[in-house]
């Protein structure tokens, strides 16, 4: 494939080792053609590299498979999933997906990316609706337009929101930036 087609979650073979792309950014240096700046993680030893490629460079992709799984729960050590095809239950270490844990809702189905029977990534939709479970009421007199407060949603994730958001309301959150997008009405 061409480097320009690389996306987050793509797996690449770099110098014989499989790497997962965890960040991808296109950059155009002043008066220069397009480059893609990557952050990749070695799937065997966890080594992180930051290669830069030209969009037209050719790269080799590693074969991975999608496994639809239901998120059951997480404890201090593991995230527990159930394969929705085989009903087989399996766990992945929390530290491998600490950034994803607070984005997943109990009982929801997510796509887990597998490389040689090893879960290497969990796909989270770009925007997700969460329910606010903890929010303090706006303080009377705090009328500064655009003021924000921090609320907690059902997964434990904390999000900065406008002060008018109340406990029990649903909000749309950008799962990449972890920022509030809008209030969702039922």
């Amino acid at each position: 494939m061409k480097a320009g087609a690389i996306d987050k979650g793509t797996c690449l073979l770099i110098k014989g080792d499989p790497f997962l792309v965890v960040e991808r950014e296109f950059v155009n240096p002043g008066k220069g053609s397009a480059f893609v700046r990557l952050k990749v993680k070695n799937l065997i030893n966890g080594q992180v590299l930051k290669p830069v490629m030209k969009s037209q460079d050719t790269v080799e992709e590693v074969n991975v498979s999608d496994r639809p799984c239901q998120y059951l729960y997480a404890d201090d050590e593991s995230i527990h999933f159930m394969d929705t095809d085989s009903f087989e239950q399996f766990t992945v270490p929390v530290e491998d997906f600490d950034d994803k844990r607070l984005l997943m809702k109990d009982g929801e189905t997510y796509t887990v990316i597998m490389w040689e029977d090893k879960p290497i990534d969990i796909k989270i939709p770009y925007k997700v609706v969460y329910t606010v479970t903890e929010a303090q009421d706006a303080v009377k007199g705090d009328t500064v337009t655009g003021a924000t407060k921090t609320v907690t949603v059902e997964t434990g994730l904390t999000v900065k929101v406008p002060i008018f958001i109340k406990q029990g309301e649903k909000i749309l959150v950008n799962t990449e930036t972890l920022e509030y997008v809008e209030r969702v009405n039922d």
Binding site: P29, G32, A34, N174
Partner: protein, 325 residues
């Protein structure tokens, strides 16, 4: 992307108003030139947006959204308008939407007559000074640090690319830095590989940085330094953004025409080719003032005044939200 808050919208309006006050106060004339143009200045590093004009009589004409107002501002200079500025929308295709880019963005472009690129560093510092009361963070305060591209490359990549005049020699040096340039890669492309991999991300960010004297091998409309190796142009980096670029504008008609021929050829092979008006360069055959121009990304400037490292939340309805990427 995050939603625009009312405070940010207010800041946006305040920064834009302050820019207008600044340049008007200095006697620059504000202009508003067309955003749709039947021809553009060829720049092989920029992709554009194409559209079509239709008339009721069936006449059709391809029109292009300007990637910068330069194509119309420079003829005004040639007509004797003196120093001018413009704040307008510009359009660049083929870029990733998000943290640093929105294909439709707001540009501040100004041209200072009887001036070189050095004077425009001072003017840009002055503009930043004016933005301090609007919340500019200390790491963006003037005076700016200055570093030549050669010095930066030597410091962060360990080589000075302009010491390798031939593309193949530079490619060999790049391989020595464990990069993998393709066979027959252009000098400019190998230089950019080195620059993006080692230099750009390592530039000091504690103060704004003017990176000056780019290699002459990168084709632009900037004047040469006279040493055959460097162009008289600079880029301003501040708060992690490439905020502005400045040229001492080339006014020698032979060199402008040669640039046009070369870049028009390269541009014809791009995904969105556009028309080029070969007569555009004729103004340089007449007497032309010494000139230096600066293009500055206003959305990035506003983000900078807010202490942000992304244009996220400083533009209304950014494309990646509209398109729900």
């Amino acid at each position: 992307m995050g939603a625009m808050t009312f405070e940010t919208a207010r800041q946006r309006a305040d920064v834009i108003m302050e820019i207008r006050r600044f340049f008007s106060g200095l006697g620059y004339l504000e202009v508003d030139t067309p955003l749709l143009s039947p021809h553009l200045i060829p720049e092989s590093s920029i992709e554009v947006f194409a559209s079509t004009l239709l008339r009721p009589d069936g006449y059709r004409k391809d029109l292009y959204l300007v990637p910068s107002p330069e194509v119309w501002m420079k003829p005004l200079i040639a007509q004797g308008y003196g120093s001018i500025f413009q704040i307008c929308k510009c359009f660049r295709n083929g870029e990733q939407q998000g943290r640093q880019h929105n294909s439709e963005f707001t540009m501040l472009e100004w041209y200072t007559v009887d001036s070189g690129s050095e004077e425009n560093i001072g003017l840009t510092e002055e503009l930043f000074r004016r933005l301090i009361p609007l919340g500019l963070p200390e790491y963006a305060y003037p005076p700016f640090r200055r570093l030549s591209v050669d010095q930066a490359c030597e410091e962060y990549a360990g080589i000075v690319p302009t010491d390798y005049p031939e593309a193949e020699d530079l490619a060999e040096a790049a391989r020595g830095l464990s990069l993998s340039p393709a066979a027959e890669e252009t000098w400019e492309s190998v230089f950019n590989r080195i620059f993006v991999q080692f230099v750009e991300g390592a530039l000091p960010q504690d103060k704004p940085l003017v990176l000056y004297d780019y290699p002459a091998r990168i084709p632009t409309l900037a004047a040469g330094r006279g040493d055959g190796r460097h162009s008289d142009r600079w880029e301003l980096y501040a708060g992690g953004f490439e905020c502005a670029n400045c040229f001492a504008e080339e006014t020698d008609y032979r060199r402008v025409e040669s640039y046009f021929r070369q870049e028009a050829k390269a541009k014809a092979a791009s995904p969105v080719p556009h028309a080029v008006n070969p007569r555009w360069t004729e103004m340089y055959r007449r007497e032309h003032p010494r000139l230096s121009g600066v293009a500055m990304g206003v959305d990035r400037l506003i983000a900078l005044t807010l202490g942000k490292t992304s244009i996220d939340g400083v533009i209304f309805f950014p494309l990646c939200d509209i398109l729900d990427e």
